[in-house]
């Protein structure tokens, strides 16, 4: 079975631009979460979606938004990019919204110049 898949793997954007990152969870998993990992630090929680509804949001500005589609895939959108948004963006999936093993994808490396 395929694991969590993310696209694109790498991208470079200019300050002020917008970016969309995509994620397909493991088949059968209903929960998708997004994390940001800055170089040298552990991942930080951005969003959790479960059954297509936002269930939780971390301490990130409104420039960050996400959605989950009927097939449980998800998109993370970031508007008005800042240099500080440069990071590895990780998507994670799990069967339910809590209490289960959480599996991560390979991530999308975003560089803002």
């Amino acid at each position: 079975d395929a694991g969590v898949t993310q696209s694109p793997t790498h991208l470079i954007k200019t300050r002020g631009q917008h970016v969309t990152l995509r994620c397909s969870p493991i088949s059968g998993h209903k929960s998708v979460s997004w994390y940001q990992q800055v170089l040298g630090q552990g991942p930080q929680f951005i969003f959790q979606y479960y059954e297509k509804e936002e269930r939780g949001r971390g301490n990130f500005p409104d420039r960050f938004s996400a959605r989950q589609f009927p097939n449980y895939s998800s998109e993370l959108n970031v508007n008005a990019l800042l240099l500080g948004d440069s990071a590895l963006y990780l998507c994670a999936s799990s069967l339910e919204y809590s209490g289960n093993t959480i599996y991560f994808g390979e991530g999308s490396w975003l560089t803002v110049v």
Binding site: S33, G42, P43, I102, G107
Partner: protein
């Protein structure tokens, strides 16, 4: 803010030796999960240990959990060069507001030398 802290921040050992990494956290948890991350790659899940469990094994990995001390340890026995990576503990707190999230520490960088 980071919930957990891994100790040590970096660990350098020879192949065949055992590696022990520790993790401390601050609030009550539902479970604790350990992950491995190779440079620039995604997180690979290693072990999940629930708050009512004290020890779990998986191959060369042994994880312990002490909820009274709010700490966990990951032991890798008979280490190999391929174990070189960063290791993170992540805690899932008690359910609040109908959702949950993992809170990560800063990780331990393990280097295993042939």
């Amino acid at each position: 803010s980071q919930q957990g802290e891994e100790d040590p921040q970096a660990l350098s050992i020879q192949e065949g030796e055992n590696a022990t990494m520790n993790c401390s956290y601050k609030t009550s948890i539902n479970n604790l999960q350990w992950y491995r991350q190779n440079s620039g790659r995604g997180l690979v899940h290693l072990i999940l240990i629930r708050s009512n469990e004290r020890e779990k094994h998986s191959g060369r990995l042994r994880v312990t959990l002490d909820t009274s001390k709010k700490s966990s340890s990951l032991l890798i026995t008979a280490s190999r060069a391929a174990d070189t990576a960063s290791y993170f503990c992540a805690t899932e707190g008690l359910i609040s507001g109908g959702y949950n999230k993992l809170i990560f520490g800063a990780g331990t960088r393990l280097a295993v030398h042939p």
